[in-house]
């Protein structure tokens, strides 16, 4: 692995190797040493968890970071091409973590620089480190990745975390339920991929009747600004709010995941149930990103 750009590039064995390595890091079985390594964290779009967890992951392994948030502090503002900016930064750092609204920017970055690139989110396209930490959370809570029933709820059209997760899980014989307002449904190109791979799925507009079947409920935010018609938003917004009542009848092992930030789509009352897992999920971002950074910097380390 030279870069991490898209879940599309990862085969099942590579996914398992990253997750296994993350588990060994978390348990203290391995301690990769990144002393003297410098990661440039370029976040052209706002991010809290992803940015901080990369920063934390680097520093936990003795590495250092250069951080840049927004484009205003870079020469991109002066009209410099992304290619030139990246090439320059690659002269200083050992690895680039890139978040951008431009789709395909991380793939492009990996072609113009000679150091490893990690995609930390490119527009509505991919967010592979999030997908990997989601898989890590699933395996930690379910003990396996294979053959699970997973509902993705909310905005599935623009939610790149949902896109990456669907692709990542497709390797593990899942059964999918996609629950969203009609105009925020999963993009047709992803559904086509699933049909080609023979992965069963159902598209629904509500969770009614399926909760007892689920192992994982992955909730994303339905954003008001995605609706052309405000009345439509008011009408549907509560269909996608998870409350303890919605979770009645669920298997005791059902876990609710959410990439965060949440607004009101998972009520705080759910936090007190055994189904809530979203804060641990966010914490899982650190060992998973440590594993990815250490693999790409070629220092898998031993105890």
């Amino acid at each position: 692995m030279n870069n991490l750009i898209s879940m599309r590039d990862l085969k099942r064995a590579e996914i398992e190797s990253i997750l296994d390595f993350a588990a060994r890091i978390e348990q203290g079985d391995v301690r990769p040493d990144l002393t003297g390594k410098l990661a440039a964290l370029l976040f052209a779009e706002p991010s809290t968890r992803t940015h901080f967890s990369f920063d934390t992951a680097m520093k936990r392994m003795g590495g250092q970071t250069l951080s840049m948030s927004g484009t205003s502090s870079t020469s991109l503002q002066k009209g410099e091409s992304l290619a030139d900016t990246l090439k320059t930064i690659s002269m200083y750092a050992d690895l680039i973590v890139l978040r951008s609204a431009v789709e395909g920017s991380a793939r492009f970055a990996s072609e113009v620089v000679d150091i490893p690139v990690i995609n930390a989110g490119d527009g509505a396209n991919q967010h592979p480190t999030q997908a990997l930490l989601d898989l890590y959370s699933i395996i930690k809570t379910q003990g396996r990745l294979d053959g699970l029933s997973i509902a993705l709820v909310g905005d599935l059209k623009f939610g790149r975390t949902a896109h990456s997760l669907v692709q990542a899980l497709s390797e593990f014989s899942p059964r999918f339920f996609f629950i969203s307002p009609q105009h925020l449904a999963l993009p047709s190109y992803l559904l086509e991929d699933l049909r080609e791979a023979g992965v069963p799925y159902q598209e629904l507009t509500s969770l009614d009747g399926i909760v007892p079947d689920l192992d994982i409920m992955y909730v994303t935010r339905v954003q008001r600004e995605r609706f052309v018609d405000p009345e439509e938003y008011e009408r549907v917004k509560n269909s996608y709010v998870i409350t303890p009542a919605v979770l009645e009848g669920a298997q005791p092992t059902l876990r609710v995941l959410h990439p965060l930030p949440r607004v009101n789509e998972v009520s705080t009352a759910v936090d007190r149930t055994t189904h809530a897992y979203y804060f641990q999920q966010a914490a899982n971002g650190v060992p998973v990103r440590q594993a990815i950074l250490a693999k790409l910097l070629g220092t898998e380390g031993t105890k």
């Binding site: 992304l82 395909g104 492009f108």
Partner: protein, 151 residues
């Protein structure tokens, strides 16, 4: 059926069975300068209803050129003509990857914002026989009919 009269060529290439209305696009992709071309549009065809046809004088299409038009004319039949006779038929094959020929319709794609040669991967044909291409950068998939040819 009444046939439109198009002069035979002595040496060159005949591209037949182009989907009706696509002849200009084929000519644009081939970018053949200096050769005389005859373009027939909406001709009657026994096999496909209506079709377009192009005759190019004194230019023999290479197989790379033939494959470059495969995306929009996958059923085209290409004949090399020497001394008024068909000397050779060139098969048209849809390439697995297409570099630079088409533009990504996604306005948020990096290929529309930076100076990058586009790159697409073709998908196996579905039951509907329509060709789909996936942008290697933004990863969106499109029907060939929905992409623009870069000229």
């Amino acid at each position: 059926m009444k046939q439109l009269k198009v002069d035979a060529i002595r040496n060159g290439t005949v591209i037949d069975h182009i989907p009706a209305g696509k002849a200009w696009q084929v000519a644009e992709i081939l970018k053949i300068h200096g050769s005389q071309m005859l373009v027939g549009m909406n001709l009657g065809s026994r096999k496909h209803g209506r079709k377009d046809l192009i005759k190019i004088e004194d230019h023999e299409l290479s197989s790379d050129e033939a494959n470059s038009i495969a995306l929009i004319a996958p059923m085209a039949s290409i004949s090399i003509i020497r001394d008024y006779e068909i000397a050779e038929k060139i098969p048209v094959a849809i390439p697995e990857a297409i570099a630079g020929l088409i533009l990504c319709p996604n306005p948020a794609c990096v290929t529309n914002l930076e100076h990058i040669k586009t790159h697409f991967v073709t998908s196996p044909q579905h039951g509907d026989g329509r060709i789909r291409v996936r942008c290697s950068y933004c990863e969106k998939r499109y029907l060939v009919d929905d992409v623009r040819i870069s000229t």
